[in-house]
Each structure stands twice: as C-alpha cells, then as structure tokens.
Symmetry: C2
Subunit: 408 residues, 2 copies
Amino acid sequence: MPVSLTAPDPASLHPVAGVTLGIASAGIKRPGRKDVLVMRLDDGAQVAGVFTLNRFCAAPVHLCREHLASGKPVRALVVNTGNANAGTGLDGRHRALEVCDTLAGLLDCQRQAVLPFSTGVILEPLPADKICSALPEAVAALAPANWAEAAEAIMTTDTLPKAASVQLPLGGDTITITGIAKGAGMIHPNMATMLGYIATDARVAPSLLQDLVRYAADRSFNSITIDGDTSTNDSFILIASHRAGPQIDNADSADYLALRDAVTALAQQLAQAIVRDGEGATKFMTIQVEGGRDHQECKAVGYAIGRSPLVKTAFFASDPNLGRILAAIGYAGISDLDVDQVDLYLDDVLVAHQGGRHPDYREEDGQRVMREPEILVRVMLNRGDATATVWSCDFSYDYVKINADYRS
Amino acid sequence: MPVSLTAPDPASLHPVAGVTLGIASAGIKRPGRKDVLVMRLDDGAQVAGVFTLNRFCAAPVHLCREHLASGKPVRALVVNTGNANAGTGLDGRHRALEVCDTLAGLLDCQRQAVLPFSTGVILEPLPADKICSALPEAVAALAPANWAEAAEAIMTTDTLPKAASVQLPLGGDTITITGIAKGAGMIHPNMATMLGYIATDARVAPSLLQDLVRYAADRSFNSITIDGDTSTNDSFILIASHRAGPQIDNADSADYLALRDAVTALAQQLAQAIVRDGEGATKFMTIQVEGGRDHQECKAVGYAIGRSPLVKTAFFASDPNLGRILAAIGYAGISDLDVDQVDLYLDDVLVAHQGGRHPDYREEDGQRVMREPEILVRVMLNRGDATATVWSCDFSYDYVKINADYRS
C-alpha cells in the first residue's frame, strides 16, 4: 500500500545518449522472472558511486569499489535480483568475478570495466551459472529505451517500479537525466538492498562526478530510513555519458550547480519513492530539522525521530504521542543540547515551545495532522543555522505481520 | 505474555534494616490505584544513582542529580506513576519540588534529602496536589516488609511486578540485598520508563557506592533493549543502609567483590525480568559477544543485533534469517572489523564461520533453535579478549497492535 506513489509512465523516461539497457530472465528465484539487467555504456562515459558502509558488505560491492578504483573506464553494469551474494566469503567473490568475466567476454572489454550488483537473499551461494547463461539474452536486448523494463527487472520486494526522468536546458543544449531505483522495503526478509542508478548525458568532469554522487546521495538515499537496518548491498551509481551540453569542469559554475540540483532532485524523487513503498507504509513523514550547529547533528536528530519504533507506531495509529518525538530528539546524541530552546511543529501546529508543551496546543490539532497521509515534522534546535531533512514512513501492523508470516 | 516470568513470592523478599516503604493511592490515572511509593531511609544510609542520558530528561531526574550532588544525606525517595513530568519545562520542576517539600515537611528533613521519581505520560503537567495529599497515607504506612507492595505500586505497563532478594554471609555476618524494578515495556505509549531500586544493609563506603551502581548498571539495566528508545526518566538507585556486615572501604577487598557480584547478579535478574515482560515479547534472547578489542565494541555489536527490527521480527517468526544478524554486526560501527574472522552460533549450532555460511549448517538446525522461547546468540569477533552480553526480546505482532490500538 504505497503512499501517493504510482508506476512511472514509460513514455516519461527519456533515453540517455550513450546508455543502453537489456533485461533477461535467469530464473534465479522463479522461472521466467526478469531478474538480470545489463547496462552498457558507450566510450567516453564516466561513472562514480557510493556504497554501503556495512562491514559485511557483499562481494559485488567489494568488486565495484576495486573496479572503480582501478581507474579503467567502465563499460557495463550487471544487476541480478534473487540473491545478494553477501555473507558468502571468498566463494562469493569468485562467483561475482565469473559473472563479470562472462559479460566482459560478450562485450569485448576487461573484467574491471564491469560493475556487478546483487540483491536478494543473504548467506546463500550466487547461482553464477544461471546468471551467465542469461547474459547473452540481456546483451542481445540492449536498447536505449528500456528504462521502464530496467526499473521492473531490479525490483525485489517493491510493490511498484521506481523511475524518474528530467530534461533541462544547459549551455544552449538540452541535457537528460534518467534514473531507476529499488527499495529496501523489508517486505521479504533478507531483501534489504537499496539500489539506485542515475545516468545523464551531460559532460561533467570525472573529478566533479564523485563529488556530485556524494552530494546527491547525502541529500537523498542517505536521508531516508524505513527500519534503520543498513543493507549489505546498498549502492548508488551516477553515470555521465558526455554526449550533451557544455563541458563542466568547475564546481562553482552555474552549469555545474544547475546539473547538481537537477541530479539531486531526481535522486530525492527516487529515494522518496522507496520510502513511499516502504514495507507496510501508510504514512509518509518529512522530518525537517532546523537551527542546528551543523548538518550532521540535524541529520542525527532527523534519524532518531525517523527510526524510533515508538514514533513510527504512533504515526501509524494517527496518535499524537508527541512526547515520543521530544524523547527521540533527546537521545539523538547531541550531548550539549539545551532542550529548553527546542520547538516542535507538526505541519502548522506548534506542539512544543522552549522544550515544553505549548499552552495553546490542543490535542485535536495534533490529531488532525496525524490523520493525514503526508506529515511534516519540524524541529527547531535554535542553536545554529544548519538544517537537514530526513524522510521516513510509519511502522504498521503489516511490517511485523508480513515479516512473521512470509514463510507460512 | 511474559517469557518465563512469574510474580515474586512476597515471603522471599527480605526486609533491609534501615529501609521502610509506604504505598498510597493518589488517583493520578484511576481512583483507588496504588500509584505513590515512599521509601524512607534511616540515619547513616548512603545513596548513589545512575540516570538516563536523554537530554529531554524529566524534571525529577534533574532534581535527583542536584540533590545527590548537594552531598546532603538522602532520607527519602518518592515515586509516582501515571505521569512522567517530562517535557514540562520550569513548571514541571516547580511541581516536583512541591512534592519534595511536602514529603520533607512530613519527615522533618530538608528538601535536598528527598529524591523524586515520576513515570507515565510525557508532556502533561504533574498533578502535584494529588500526590501531596496522598503522601501522609504513604508515610503512615511505612514498614520494612512492604517490598512486594512497592514493586506493584511502581508498575505502569508491566504485566507482572518485578522484585528480587538475596542474603549472603559477609565477614561473619549476613547481609541482605533486596530490589524492585519496573519495565519499559512500551505496552502503553509514552510509558517508557525503567526504574530500579536496590537496597542493601551492607556497610559500603560512599566512594565505592557510586562505582558499584555504575558497575552493576552497565552489566544489567544498561545491557537490555526492548525497542531501542531511551526513556526520559530512567533511573537506577542503590541504597546502603550500613546496618550489617563489615565496613567495606577497599575496591580490591574480597568483601567488596562479593558484594559487587551479588548486587550485579540481582540487578541482572531485575533487568532480565524487564525484558521478559517486554511489550508483546514471546522470546528472550541472550546476545553474547566475544573476542572484541574492548567491552564497548562488543556491546555495540550486541545492541545492533538486539535492536534490529529485522532480527527481532525473525525471532518472533522463529525464522532463521540469520543473514540479518551478520548484517547487524556489519553496521554496528566497528570501522575496522574484519568480517572474515567472524563466527556466529545460535545456541550450539555453528551458523557462520569466518564471515560466511558454514558448510555443515543446515536450516533445520537453525529452525530448531529459533522455536525455543529462550535463545542464545553467540558472536565471536576473534579480534581480542573482551566480551559483552545484551538481553533482548523479539518484536511481535502485538508490539505494533497494542501501540496502535491503545486509544481505540
């Protein structure tokens, strides 16, 4: 029951020059299920990525880091669903390399030119043979217009595919930004991976691309929480195919800032789609923290609120137990926080002023806001100028129900 | 549905010389409900405490800290349920002081000789008048044998009272240790407070008492998690009435170590009772982390596992999704953890060896253990000699259900 989310209209997803996509069925979990995606990048494309900080990160994540670090041009990405190839040790690495080598052979490039991604069950061996035998079908299907199919192919527990696309004028030309993502809905246990891929035809210098992917990730995929569990496989990749617009080498140029903001907005759209499709979600919360000393402490407060099972169940119940939000602010880890300066708004309702319940606050006002499917929680720390925004969903009956019942 | 927990037998709770307890009804939430406890301490008693680190800590927590810091002898503790007096600003402080002053007047002692405690709803004004008018009844009822009634009086959402008592020979004499606690069951939203009180008649020097309360808290009340939310009111108080046994001034003496271990064991029994009575709990998990560089990193791993909604729902479902435990270890914050050294046991079943699924591990073995009501999770980090143990419960259907339904 996603919150205000619909499947993307395939016609709205602009192809990105220099990027082709092919889907195939390897039958990893179910025969016939499209579970393999190959993205091919033409010469000149630049790639940057950010990955999970989980120390138990999966074999493909290790290989992505190594292959990107090799400095060799990336020519292809390969994604499989149904198996995360995590907690699989050295054998998992060998199997992931087998997939890279097979695709490299088909595309006549080096092993390091291939980035592998896996999502699905942890602790089980990757069926590399099945994936490799499906690769020729995927390569044969490579086409620029396959973004909608690609968004479906990487789904695991998502109830809807997630894709977005935008075009903007840049230096007298028009550049395109198109992306897909899959969620960490946790609907099906062990399938917790967030994958995001955004491609643009803009000519952005490699040195800026890594800054851009970090900037966008920090304000999108790294600003959402569903249940606070950090996946072993999370990856966000940004591709620049260098086919349109002016050459962008300067982080202060108007062109870079326009591209940066457009990429970030698209990443936020995809990240929010993941939360809207969160396991059992019935409410979408935007937690806006203002007046902090720095972005980090604002984000820590946003996450403390967005992760709290007490806060999330209260939102599910449309129950203004707003003391729980104050309690979460209090344990967010700001050791010198003066709570007597903290204000709390629920949408337009001032709930707490200077650390205590506001005299004018009436429970029915809080109740009214809590009943909405989209709720803005605003926290003013009143100790600085920094801000941060975190997106979260409520914690429903179904979260536990589905997790508990899925094998029965 | 507490896990292997029964109400304490009042006859098993030994009185502690120099400590009397009186219960009264202030009708804070329901007329007739016993909701006020007064503990009176005779001359010579020493008191030490540890309190929540939540920055939004309640007014009574601030006053406890100030009154203990004043160095003046503590003559009484007063506890009310039904209202937490948190998020109440300066008015909350005045109301808590009103309670202290009233009790000080009845017992003919100074305001700073009274420690106040509150648990219940956050963000609502403390009904100090009701509490003050109930204090004479509580004072009139003061008696040494009221520990069982006291355990009941401090209950909020607990389904069973929690109390324990032990006697041990010390220096040719017999000393008594008796304690009560209430849980952070979260059954009823906004009632998240853990309160623990342990009294002994031992003659332990004030300088050692603060070390002892920290030592015991770290290994008991600070080693449990139900849903990871840190209350605004958590308090653990240790009282030494100096009526029995030898004078204990040396932290290395056999007498101190015997007392320390007995107090810690009793605190663990009370802390585990809180988890066994955790909201909707159906499983009791002991998470034992071994081979860490220090106690802190072992505890961080234990808490990452014990708090993970994915791990907790898997235990509720008796479903060996054990990759989730590895994932939790991976995001516990040990930045240089070599996961290829990590072993994972479920009771006697070796699940993962050197970071990967053990070849001999069979799912039916994991399933067998997961069906038990009491489960031992053993993690070997294999990077040092430190250990830590965390106790947690599963995350059931009822946790969300009760939280969501409680107003309807």
